[in-house]
């Protein structure tokens, strides 16, 4: 195995002549300005993940506050106004500022390494998307700090979020946040899809792509189709609010259900593009710790693609209580049941891999197993809420709160924790503490179930969602107290994770290039990877390149420039080398453009004039960004980039 690793490293490794040359070309200059200018996908990915983690903790604190408020009946800790802002901010932050950017950040970091290239396809766009995400998220939180937190729910139904009932600027900031995060999501999705389709290592044909790469590809394409509808919808609401249009005003021929269609056409696929990457993590981690290739690779890939398609045909199951035609609703019940099948197939393939493997029961695998159970429960209750009659009883009750948390925690959060433990040594070069990890896992698993399982029963007992308190006579007190205690346990486990991550980052045991003995390309380079990722771009001749390759097949690409940021574009299906590609160099303009875009959209909240004149600064920033530079052109000509 180690010989394969060496072979993939161009034989020479760190003492080869090209390493220092590449280092000079790719390493960011020292200093704060250079730090702001970076276009290194690893830096951008780390920033996405770190920022998303901070938003996660902020949203977690909000969840904790809500659990505190609901722990006992008639609690007066929080009033309805603040509570409504809290649950709206909790949902909005978790969905828009944590789950999607976190998964995309993981992709930005991992995908170029997994497919064996030096950077993402559009590094400046990736940088710009991060800054829009950061500034946009901060805008929402600054508004919240000034008592202007969105308060109409993360789904922002009109008319409650419309001009007449959505008071102040609260809903405006929410609409703008949708613009910010969806722009970010779309830019990253385009970037990731392009890397995956056009920049894979030679030989990595589609049927040799790692499963997380497949998951990222499916997710990215879903994002490209789903996100525009919610952006469109949010801007229609914003026009109703600021420009006096009547898209959603029934008194003027508008329709309140139009928003629900636009929102859920995005909102339901969103659930899947949060947890398909999670399933991708699982499909990477299980083979590594079962010491065998994934069972049913084709079935898993097809399942992910099928999930991606089917997820666009479910959105009406969020609207069963409206007066849409009953027969039409049955179609969405059938679709909701059908989408259980591809997920079930993936679960069966995981069990088959574990069944026939030899297990290295380390913390990433524990989180995968725990997540499996939690996702299974969430999936089964998902079948229940997919049924029209049953949904009419449990819709908008705590049963659904339980269901969605089981799905997202089991399908995304457990796999994400597993992924943190799994790739932490790759990113930082140090291992996390296994003993603390096991304790953290146990607490997390117990805490999640203690928090959310009682909510099923609360829903059946008639407790609606989004109520800030309840009367003693309802009898909901005991189960709510149990849920709150569970939330404490989750908090404790998260605290352990943070302490362990910080401690391991500073003083953890050094990890080699491949501490878990894994099979994908990111493990063939050093930990942490150098700025240029690989000394020589690898050539792949099997599905598990670190584990096996065809004898006699080439191991790496040679002949690429080291004096410029050169990479290789390969063909979509078979990854046959196609053209040489020069990656753009660091620049400050993505940051400036992002800041101007934020200013423009925030300005448009306060003045319609701002919506018009605010476009000028971003336009200037974009022109500066794309302005050709003489030295770059000359350098391109010198290395025969084009004749």
């Amino acid at each position: 195995m180690s010989t394969d690793l060496e072979a993939l490293r161009d034989g020479g490794g760190w003492d080869s002549v090209v390493a220092p040359l590449l280092d000079r070309t790719w390493r960011d200059k020292p200093g704060f300005i250079a730090w702001l200018c970076t276009v290194d996908h690893k830096a951008i990915g780390r920033r996405f993940v770190f920022t998303a983690a901070l938003f996660f903790f902020a949203a977690g604190v909000m969840g904790g506050l809500m659990r505190h408020q609901l722990a006992e009946p008639d609690n007066s800790l929080l009033g309805p106004d603040f509570y409504n802002q809290l649950f709206t901010m909790h949902g909005t932050t978790m969905m828009f500022l944590f789950a999607v950017p976190m998964m995309q950040g993981m992709s930005v970091y991992l995908i170029p390494l997994m497919v064996g290239t030096r950077n993402t396809a559009f590094p400046r766009m990736a940088a710009c998307s991060y800054w829009i995400y950061l500034f946009g998220g901060l805008t929402l939180f600054i508004a919240f700090a000034f008592n202007t937190g969105a308060d109409a729910g993360w789904f922002a139904y009109v008319p409650l979020a419309g001009p007449q009932y959505g008071i102040g600027r609260r809903a405006d900031f929410w609409n703008m946040l949708v613009n910010f995060t969806e722009a970010t999501g779309l830019m990253v999705a385009v970037d990731i899809a392009t890397v995956i389709l056009k920049m894979r290592a030679p030989g990595m044909s589609l049927q040799r792509m790692p499963l997380f790469v497949w998951a990222s590809l499916v997710t990215s394409i879903m994002i490209i189709f789903a996100m525009p509808t919610v952006m469109f919808g949010a801007n229609l609401v914003q026009m109703d609010r600021s420009a006096g249009t009547h898209f959603f005003n029934p008194a003027e021929g508008g329709d309140v259900l139009l928003w629900q269609h636009l929102f859920w056409f995005f909102g339901h696929p969103e659930v899947y593009f949060i947890f398909i990457p999670g399933l991708g993590f699982v499909s990477e981690i299980i083979p590594t710790f079962a010491r065998r290739p994934m069972f049913g690779y084709d079935a898993v890939v097809l399942s992910m693609i099928a999930t991606g398609f089917l997820s666009f045909g479910l959105w009406v199951h969020h609207m069963f209580a409206t007066n849409l035609p009953e027969l039409g609703k049955s179609f969405f019940t059938a679709m909701s049941f059908m989408i259980a099948i591809p997920t079930a197939v993936q679960m069966f393939c995981w069990i088959a891999t574990l069944w026939t493997g030899r297990l290295n029961l380390r913390s990433p695998l524990l989180f995968v197993l725990g997540g499996f159970i939690v996702l299974l429960i969430g999936g089964l209750t998902g079948v229940m809420v997919g049924s029209v009659p049953l949904d009419l009883q449990v819709h908008d009750t705590y049963f659904v709160v339980a269901h969605l948390h089981y799905v997202l925690i089991g399908g995304a959060l457990f796999p994400l924790m597993a992924a943190f433990y799994y790739w932490f040594p790759k990113v930082t070069g140090r291992l996390m503490n296994e003993r603390i990890a096991r304790w953290q896992f146990a607490l997390f698993f117990i805490g999640v179930n203690a928090t959310f399982f009682p909510m099923h029963e609360l829903g059946l007992n008639g407790m609606p969602r989004r109520i800030y308190t309840y009367a003693v006579e309802t009898g909901w007190g005991t189960l709510n107290m149990a849920a709150t205690i569970g939330a404490f346990i989750v908090d404790l486990s998260m605290l352990m994770f943070v302490i362990d991550a910080v401690r391991s980052f500073l003083r953890g045991q050094r990890a080699g290039a491949n501490p878990w003995g894994a099979s994908t390309l990111e493990w063939s380079t050093s930990s942490p990877p150098p700025p240029f990722n690989f000394i020589a771009l690898p050539v792949v001749s099997s599905r598990d390149p670190v584990w096996s390759r065809n004898e006699g097949a080439p191991t790496h690409v040679s002949g690429l420039q080291t004096s410029t940021r050169e990479g290789l574009v390969t063909t979509v299906l078979d990854a046959i080398p196609d053209v040489r590609y020069e990656y753009p160099a660091p620049t400050i303009w993505p940051l400036v453009a992002a800041a101007f875009i934020i200013l423009w959209l925030v300005w448009s909240i306060f003045s319609l004039q701002g919506a018009l004149w605010g476009m000028i600064p971003p336009a200037i920033a974009f022109i500066a960004w794309f302005w050709p530079r003489r030295d770059e052109t000359a350098q391109g000509a010198a290395v025969e980039k084009r004749p």
């Binding site: 009953e326 059908m338 493997g357 008639g462």
Partner: protein
């Protein structure tokens, strides 16, 4: 305890039946899959990160593949069964006989319910608020409208939900077979007081219901006591009549709940018990019990408050 699973009528009973079937099948799947996972983890040999990876034998993969295919096929079969059960339940819900149905028009407001009992004879129509009385054994058609934002009508023990959508009139049909009191919380987030937008549902034997309805058709009686008369005078000359109506007086505004028979209701504003003390507190400052409520505060002199309470107490 479980309101959804303690049906008081056929609609909720159909859904409860579907629930038990779903629960049984899902519990079976959960146990089977968890067992398979547990066995897989327990039986597999142990390894370390250094263990050389191995490609499993083709025959072994085929055998396992058969299990995976069988499990997938079984999942599909179970899902088809559940789909059938779901559609059949839907059908049963749609086939509720509606002969001689009582028609009630419910309009949701932030944060109270306006309830009108319709009748072919217009003079037999009457109105109440935040309470829905029903005769047992007789189907009810509830027409649903919303005046401001989206709300949702839901009586867990009697029927599933139906949203009240501004600009779209929806209907829901059900029947209460068991007499008793049921709770109907608003089930769609509707703003500050979503938590206390509850409709008190009371199902009565037909004879008692008719008596109740007759009593509610009558306008408010003119009080005889001077203090009560003074209370009425305060009501119709003060700001109360700007929003509320009392049949039989000149107060006929509709932006707040109708108060013609307010003293007969179990709760005030869905949140307080209907006692004179609570009513006085409510009138003085509604924001204490129901922060965000649209009713303004009224600071009345003691004597005025007593007179007003005395009058309102006569509105049975």
């Amino acid at each position: 305890m479980s309101e959804v699973l303690a049906p008081g009528g056929p609609q909720a009973a159909h859904i409860a039946q579907l629930w038990w079937l779903m629960l049984a099948i899902c519990a079976f799947v959960f146990i089977a899959v968890t067992l398979a996972l547990g066995c897989a983890v327990l039986r597999a040999r142990r390894a370390t990160s250094e263990t050389a990876p191995e490609s499993p034998s083709t025959s072994g993969e085929k055998r396992v593949g058969l299990w995976v295919k069988a499990a997938a096929a079984l999942s599909m079969l179970l899902l088809v069964i559940l789909l059938g059960a779901s559609v059949m339940t839907d059908r049963a819900l749609a086939r509720l006989p509606l002969d001689d149905a009582l028609v009630v028009h419910v309009t949701a407001n932030q944060w109270w319910w306006d309830v009108v009992y319709e009748d072919a004879q217009p003079d037999r129509e009457f109105r109440t608020a935040n309470e829905l009385y029903l005769p047992t054994g007789r189907p009810v058609i509830v027409k649903l409208d919303a005046r401001d934002v989206i709300h949702s009508f839901w009586i867990p023990s009697l029927t599933g939900k139906k949203d009240l959508l501004p600009g779209r009139t929806t209907t829901i049909q059900f029947r209460a077979d068991k007499a008793g009191e049921y709770r109907a919380p608003c089930a769609e987030f509707c703003g500050l007081q979503h938590a206390f937008m509850t409709l008190d549902v009371v199902a009565l034997a037909p004879a008692s219901f008719d008596a109740w309805a007759d009593a509610h058709r009558a306008p408010a009686a003119t009080p005889s006591d001077p203090m009560e008369l003074r209370g009425r005078e305060l009501f119709v000359s003060g700001s109360c009549m700007l929003c509320h109506a009392i049949l039989g007086t000149s107060a006929n505004a509709r932006s707040g709940p109708d108060l013609t028979h307010v003293a007969s209701r179990a709760h005030l504003a869905s949140v307080l018990p209907n006692t004179p003390v609570a009513l006085a507190a409510w009138i003085t400052d509604p924001q204490v019990a129901k922060p965000g409520a649209n009713m303004p505060a009224h600071f009345l002199a003691d004597a005025d408050m007593r007179a007003l309470l005395a009058y309102l107490g006569t509105l049975r």
